[in-house]
């Protein structure tokens, strides 16, 4: 039996396929783009190909993320807030607090041992402190977003970036560059600025160990280091951090599929 989770985010669409034991057997990833339905179908096909199965072998699919209602193959929808909690506790069972930084929003989530959401806080109608902020900084530097973390880690003199606005940060960076500041120091400042905003969101839900960092931005080692420094604690981050929402959705899918099987067995017995 296989379950799938499809996370249609503002920037990327992700898919995870789990086998009956809850093991990840396939992943799919692409830019969301304008055609949400197509994106969700393609990531599912990708994940199934990796798993070596046909899409019809998937018993249950859950859609999550902003485009969750447009997942054509979805049997049900769950918000990514619940999915990130579920996924994070599955990968790191000690997780009680989650920081999820995605393309356009940042969430602080408090969870219990079962991966159920106890409380959450999000950024508001503004992309300050999200992945978009990092992408804007990378663009000004002429770097790919995957390169900026390692560059920032080389900094010896972290600069203070005072601007929190994703639009205006570009002119602040240009200003720093024109003053001859090193790009690693500027980027370290950018990372610190995001870590600072994340910290205040985390404080609003109350930080309890362990803290797990999810979402695409968690793949940036500079960001993980900045959050650890700011929070003065070790942060769990996984290679699969950007698949965390899809993983949580797939776990919900598997649970529901199994509940359905149990129900059918009971009906047969009854």
């Amino acid at each position: 039996m296989y379950g799938a989770g499809i996370d249609v985010g503002s920037t990327q669409t992700k898919c995870v396929v789990l086998d009956g034991n809850g093991e990840i057997v396939g992943r799919g990833l692409r830019m969301t783009g304008a055609d949400v339905v197509k994106a969700s179908e393609q990531v599912l096909e990708q994940a199934c190909a990796e798993a070596g199965i046909e899409t019809h072998e998937i018993v249950y699919t859950i859609g999550t993320g902003y485009g969750r209602f447009r997942v054509a193959t979805g049997d049900d929808q769950v918000t990514e807030i619940s999915c990130h909690a579920k996924g994070a506790v599955h990968l790191f069972p000690g997780t009680r607090t989650i920081l999820d930084i995605g393309g356009q929003d940042t969430k602080a989530i408090k969870t219990n041992a079962r991966g159920e959401v106890v409380d959450f806080c999000m950024n508001d109608k503004c992309a300050a402190g999200t992945g978009r902020f990092l992408a804007a900084a990378a663009e000004v530097m002429g770097l790919d977003v995957s390169e900026i973390g390692p560059v920032a880690l080389k900094s010896t003199e972290e600069l203070k970036i005072t601007n929190v606005c994703t639009v205006f940060v570009e002119s602040e960076i240009l200003n720093q560059l024109s003053r001859g500041r090193k790009r690693e120091d500027i980027l370290a400042g950018v990372h610190r600025s995001i870590a600072g905003r994340s910290a205040s969101l985390l404080r609003r839900v109350g930080v309890e160990e362990e803290l797990t960092f999810t979402g695409g931005v968690a793949r940036n080692p500079g960001m993980v280091a900045a959050v650890e420094r700011r929070m003065k604690m070790k942060v769990n981050a996984s290679e699969d951090s950007q698949f965390m929402g899809a993983l949580g959705a797939a776990l919900f899918a598997l649970e529901r599929a199994m509940a359905g099987v149990r129900r059918k067995e009971q009906e047969v017995q009854g």
Binding site: I81, D105, R114, E116, V117, V118, C121, M122, R204
Partner: protein, 419 residues
């Protein structure tokens, strides 16, 4: 098909008729040579001004009607065009925009100009500036009643009541001069008498939400039910209206009917609604079988369910007490206590705070309220944000996401409780 119910829908129907008649009558006031006073909803002194011969205009009610009829957006832009900042309250900008476009309401009536502006609640500095602007634009006289903010938790002191009462008596002299007629104390007393009876019925309607399932949504429906008691309190129409609503509610209780097909979650709501997206906003809660059993916004004009009533034997003094006790004039300890009481008395499962950008009187402190309820009282609390007038502040996908995540978690925790 004939409905088996006699009273269903009467609250909504009569309210609509009452307001239509109210606006028509108001529109014709200048032709009849009658005077018009503008005032605010919170702790309003409608009965007193009517006994002085004034017709009443509540700019906040106009703003919410423009919001719900989706014309607040253009009105707000018109105000911004003449220089009002993006940060100014959406109600104010709607009113300025409405004035600039000739005061024509979306339902077709034209609002008369004010002869007198009565700022009956000074706890919100924006109120003062709002009426100062109108006084300037219209060249009308303005009076401010200084209502001291409640500091303790015991309610207003005798000195505070006396202070406000004295100002009300001074106001009467101004009213007589502007209206060109004498204040009618007998009419005032009779109005207060009808007010008390309306207040009793209103409390009975609100408290019906203690039933399971609740026959009413004490937010999404109550914000409509509340209109007469805040705009035309003291009139016979208002009293008749609450008698009709009480029958409608009673019928629902008998039939076990409620605002949703199946009541699954009982919530308490804090904060004003998102008027420009009202239906959509409600649907986001209905979807989860969530019913509001108590709300603070339905008390925005006055609080009666804690026992206060106007008193025809002390019409000025009790009016002063009423003004001092209005919701936004209460400090946070009192507001928190009130909400906590609602959660317990109405058997609610969760608190939802809808914070609006426009109204600082409501919103400042709500983030702390959220923390207090989650950490100290361990009540599941959802915090969402948009606006009561400006449609631009409603981010549908984000709003829906938060509401879904909250109820999802609540439902899941219930399912696994005890596991």
């Amino acid at each position: 098909m004939n409905s088996p119910y006699q009273h269903q829908g009467s609250g909504q129907k009569i309210q609509k008729q009452l307001l239509t008649d109210w606006y028509r009558h108001l529109e014709q006031a200048p032709e009849r040579g009658e005077k018009v006073a503008y005032l605010f909803i919170s702790g309003n002194i409608g009965e007193l001004l009517q006994a002085c011969g004034f017709h009443l205009v509540y700019p906040e009610v106009n703003a919410l009607q423009c919001g719900i009829k989706k014309v607040a957006g253009p009105n707000i832009l018109a105000a911004e065009d003449i220089g009002y900042s993006g940060d100014v309250c959406g109600y104010v900008k709607n009113d300025i925009g409405l004035m600039l476009s000739g005061n024509r309401m979306p339902h077709g009536t034209t609002l008369p100009k004010p002869d007198l502006l009565v700022c009956n609640y000074a706890g919100c500095a924006t109120y003062l500036r709002w009426f100062e602007a109108l006084a300037e634009f219209y060249g009308a006289e303005m009076v401010v009643i200084d209502v001291p903010y409640l500091r303790g938790t015991e309610g207003p002191t005798a000195e505070e009541v006396r202070y406000v009462e004295r100002q009300l008596r001074e106001l009467v002299a101004v009213c007589e001069r502007v209206a060109g007629r004498e204040f009618d104390p007998a009419a005032y007393r009779q109005a207060i008498d009808r007010t008390v009876r309306s207040e009793d019925l209103w409390v009975q309607i609100l408290e019906s939400a203690r039933h399971r399932p609740s026959p009413i949504d004490a937010y999404f429906e109550a914000v409509f039910f509340m209109a007469p008691i805040y705009t035309m309190r003291g009139t016979q129409g208002c009293l008749d209206y609450y008698q009709a609503v009480a029958k409608e509610v009673e019928e629902r209780i008998q039939a076990g009917m409620g605002p949703v097909a199946e009541e699954k979650v009982r919530i308490v709501m804090e904060g004003p609604p998102a008027w420009p997206h009202f239906r959509k906003f409600w649907e986001m809660f209905k979807k989860w079988g969530a019913v509001t059993v108590a709300s603070t916004y339905s008390k925005v004009g006055g609080i009666w369910d804690l026992g206060f009533r106007h008193d025809p034997d002390r019409p000025f003094e009790s009016m002063a007490e009423y003004m001092l006790g209005c919701y936004t004039n209460r400090n946070w300890a009192m507001r928190s206590q009130l909400i906590r009481g609602y959660l317990e008395d109405y058997g609610a499962d969760a608190l939802v705070i809808h914070s609006v950008k426009s109204c600082r009187s409501f919103s400042v402190g709500q983030a702390d309220l959220r923390e207090q309820f989650i950490r100290e009282f361990e009540v599941p609390t959802l915090f969402i944000e948009s606006d009561l007038a400006d449609p631009r502040y409603f981010a549908e996908a984000q709003m829906k996401n938060r509401i879904d995540a909250f109820f999802e978690a609540l439902e899941h925790r219930r399912l696994t409780a005890g596991v």
